[in-house]
Amino acid sequence: MTGFWLVLRRDLSLAFKQGGAAMLALAFFVVTVTLFPLGVGPSPDILARIGPGVIWVAALLSALLSLDRLFQADLEDGSLDLLVLAPLPLQATVLAKCAAHWLSTGLPLIAAAPVLGLLMNMPAEGIWTLLAAMVLGTPSLSLIGAIGAALTVAVRRGGVLLSLLVLPLYIPVLIFGVAAVDAATVGLSVRPHLLLLSAISLGSVVLAPVAAAPALRLALE
């Protein structure tokens, strides 16, 4: 268990000392969403209608930005060799790296979402639901993304391939994330949508490490 915390702490301190990736994802998120009022015009009704979808799509793309380096940096400097050999099971290492990715990328996105919700003229209940949906849904973005990152770890310029692999898998998160906010705005129950988002996240906690670990081992052959 100490190994898990060591990996988590190392990846977090790398994310904050290098600064780059996490803050870039946040800036990308804010800028992308800000472009929409400029693009579709400042009509409050249209913005409120498309707001949840725009914010979710921007969140998916922002989470992807730093994913291609999740394992690649460790492959390039030989760290991956030693992480594979370490007593900590590789699945746990993957999970720790996903947790660090979520804390450094997912949390800032969640923190910025309410402000962007206001920008998109979303009603208060919609913003609260958006927050809840993002808290429950974004962990799966890091986890599902880790599978793609592990599969493309040895591919040069694998970022595009990673997007093509991972974005289709993000579709359920997008659908239920947006549906939850829509339900809240029209006064329907948000519970089923939030439960489904939690189910996706919990399922990917189990599946992602199991899928990513063999992919990483294969990359070292």
Binding site: T2, G3, L6, V7, R10, S13, L14, K17, Q18, D74, E76, D77, G78, S79, D81, L82, L83, V84, L85, A86, P87, L88, P89, R217, L220, E221
Partner: protein
């Protein structure tokens, strides 16, 4: 007893690297791998570490095939490859302490650094290190490791004479405590009574691999 390989064959990318290779390493022993570039020294070490599976043949530790218990095999070995796994933004001490922590350290990171005369640089971010200094930090990992089997792939790359002497002393101490060392090298490490395994360039036609 010990660590041994029988009739090992290694194929990398449709190319036969070596075949029918045997070696035997006893506790306290040292096996030096010599041979021209591309003769399979690194491949043999990666085979022993379990990164690769042999196309044929079998690796045994204390008589048991290493495939039977991969976890136990990983726990008893430590591997030094061509790359130095240091993160540029972390300090030397942070880098070393991470690996020591991951592998259950037997010696404090500071003491291990002192063996290679790196104690004064412990608080320096690793990005400012020279190639030789990076290698010394990587080798200091050996001193913190409790592993029985050391797999060293050209450990002396970029090292100065003092550091080579420190490495030789470290290997001698490890062997005196019953440890085993396998090292691929092009220079004479000055290890007493170390067995040498000579790898030849494969006789079969070699497909050119541009990767």
């Amino acid at each position: 007893m010990g660590f041994n390989g029988e009739a090992l064959t290694c194929i990398r990318g449709d190319r036969l690297v070596f075949e029918d290779l045997d070696f035997d390493l006893q506790p306290g022993g040292c096996l030096v791998l010599r041979g021209p570039n591309g003769s399979g020294k690194s491949s043999l070490l990666r085979l022993c570490a379990g990164f690769l599976a042999p196309a044929e043949g079998r690796l045994r530790f204390d008589g048991l095939p290493i495939d039977d218990d991969r976890e136990a095999h990983r726990a008893r070995l430590t591997y030094v490859g061509h790359l130095d796994p240091l993160k540029p933004v972390l300090t030397v001490a942070e880098n070393l302490a991470f690996w020591a922590g991951m592998n259950g350290a037997s010696e404090a990171a500071e003491d291990a650094l002192a063996r290679f005369g790196m104690a004064g640089l412990a608080d320096l971010p690793a990005r400012y290190l020279s190639a030789g200094q990076r290698r010394k930090v990587n080798l200091a990992r050996l001193a913190t490791s409790a592993a029985v089997l050391w797999l060293l792939d050209e450990p002396t790359t970029a090292l100065d004479d003092t550091a080579v002497a420190a490495l030789t002393a470290l290997i001698a101490a490890h062997r005196a405590a019953g440890g085993m060392v396998m090292a691929a090298t092009h220079i004479d490490l000055g290890l007493p009574d170390a067995a040498t395994l000579r790898l030849e360039t494969p006789r079969l036609p070699v497909a050119v691999d541009f990767r």
